[in-house]
Symmetry: C2
Subunit: 331 residues, 2 copies
DNA sequence: ACCGACCACTAGCGCGCGCTAGTTCTGGGT
DNA sequence: ACCCAGAACTAGCGCGCGCTAGTGGTCGGT
């Protein structure tokens, strides 16, 4: 066997600790810590620094995060609790931007979608994160657990009003309604999927739809759940009722509306115009391609990171609107 | 202020530790540990047990996972590194099943999609997981980092042959090819998306497609990348070359193929039959609905959990084939 | 009366690391 | 010759928990 590094330290497969580095470099454990963490206020000679760094590299030292978390009192982990909505392209960009911004601050973003069957212990009790970002308000039960687990910052903060990044998520219908209104549609419907899990957001968007329809002097839009089984009935009912424009909760629902309309013999967008939401890949692939609302994930992601790490929870940074309308064939 | 529990322990917001419970219950810290962990081989009186449990409940005690991980030497976390493929419905079921199975063993499954821009520290160095499941083989660099981080079980194990759960992921084309062959198609094409990230799996599936086409005495299928910009050209080229059946990498690609064929004036499935893969929701929504391959996530998930926790890495459990063909309109 | 077995606990180490409170060693100023 | 400031370190505590090696007490058997 080639005399590999692990063997030299003794125990087969034992992980390399800072003490190993200290011994090998002929310094104390504290010095190793100072060098590897660039601890401010410590003066270390060039020579020692080099020796420690070289030895750490040679032995492939990786600090043990549990020990670090225990000693420092912070895991440097930020947990994003994702809702179970099919994650659109925009959401992925959002999380990636947030992740990058957090990384620059030495944090690690972990995303998590809770399983339907409630976990024995919620993930934040296991990970001990520094902050938890939810995309849906937490229940009282969850809030209690979060507090007991010592999570320092929770978003949205239970008890506080919803932060704008969440209300922003429900602002899409404004663009959808405005567009349909501009095209002369007077009677709209809001279409939502059946999924229980998206209900809270769907209701929020339905509310926004009604609000802006009222503002623009349109007929009060009806809200309908679109199911694969009876979508045809719903679409026919719309047609009979004079509905010509559909605000869809997301692109999947929009796709279902458009597909059903076509099968029912309606023309899209002539007989029924549909605007989706999320700008998911299928939006452009669908025949006809879907007009939809694009969400600027980059901006939103940075905003989220800033919210999670801001030292003073009372002062929140401003969020420029991250929504844009994408015009395609379906409306 | 109502005299709340936290206040009683002293420090504002300090988290409740096992020592607090011990003090309040009038027992030693060890006893608290024995009670809360049901440590085998320890005899605790009913009375004491009740007192400790009650006190833990009253104070909302949550064990500090970092400390536990440090002391026990294991984080009880299993990390699944997901590829960046759009996560189909089947994949979600797979992960959920795996998560549940792991939970029954006291483990926590954390899923993670590495960002495109490489993270400063890969997630496993931060989380210190007990096992890491990859859906794509690890690079040498990653393998080294995994070993240095003390991860006990890595799947797929670098250096070992691919486990069947991964080769199984490439078995779908067998069903796709067999179906098309049974319908009398002699000349097939394999359609893959452009995405760099799915390339390794796409190539694997292309190989399987060729293999089974050969086995069934079909013409050697050509492999084509389907891009939105020039999909029309590709589809026309297929038609000219006498290709009548398309094996698609996934449902998105199948959707693109079908959509393009329709726009080009071809009939589906009469002129071009297409079989997708993944049974994603759009597969049934699309017009015409897509024939596709369904992957039984439940079986696969349990298998994964078993692989991650099996005590002896040399003996792997059997995996029954988790694939089924779903017949719809496109083929 | 004494012993051993068993029950019901407790004292305290060790996990790996961050960090405070020293300690030793220069080298320049008086 | 002495002092003292600063550079360059080190000793060792504490984070919260798991767990081993005890320790006292009770009870049945001889």
């Amino acid at each position: 066997m080639a005399g590999n590094v692990e063997k030299q330290t003794g125990g087969a497969g034992r992980r390399v600790t800072a003490a190993d580095i200290a011994r090998a470099a002929g310094v104390s454990r504290a010095t190793v810590g100072f060098v590897l963490n660039d601890t401010p206020g410590q003066t270390i000679s060039q020579d020692t620094r080099r020796r420690v760094l070289a030895e750490a590299e040679r032995q492939g030292y990786r600090p043990h995060s549990a020990a670090r978390a225990l000693a420092s009192g912070s895991s440097r982990i930020v947990l994003a609790v994702l809702p179970d909505w099919p994650m659109g392209f925009s959401m992925r960009t959002t999380l990636e931007a947030a992740s990058l911004a957090l990384q620059e601050q030495g944090r690690t973003l972990i995303t998590h979608t809770p399983p339907h069957r409630a976990a024995a212990r919620p993930l934040w009790e296991v990970l001990d994160p520094e902050a938890v970002l939810g995309f849906v308000p937490f229940t009282d039960e969850q809030a209690r657990s979060l507090r007991a687990s010592g999570v320092r910052r929770v978003l949205p903060d239970p008890g506080e009003p919803l932060p704008d990044f969440l209300t922003g998520l429900a602002e899409g219908p404004r663009l959808q309604v405005e567009h349909l209104a501009a095209r002369g549609h007077r009677r709209l419907a809001f279409a939502t999927p059946e999924e229980e899990r998206v209900r809270s957001l769907a209701e929020e968007r339905a509310r926004t739809t009604r609000e802006h329809a009222a503002r623009l002097g349109l007929e009060p839009p009806q809200v309908h759940t679109l199911r694969i089984e009876d979508a045809a009935d719903t679409v026919r009912a719309w047609h009979r009722a004079g509905v010509t424009g559909v605000v869809a909760y997301n692109d999947d629902t929009a796709a279902l509306a458009v597909g059903t309309a076509l099968r029912t013999g309606l023309r899209v967008p002539e007989d029924l115009a549909v605007v989706g939401h999320d700008d998911s890949p299928i939006a452009s692939l669908f025949v006809p391609s879907l007009s939809t609302v694009y969400l600027d994930g980059d901006t939103l992601g940075r905003h989220l990171a800033a919210l999670a790490l801001r030292p003073d929870p009372t002062e929140a940074p401003e969020l420029p609107s991250p929504l844009t309308l994408v015009l395609r064939e379906s409306a």
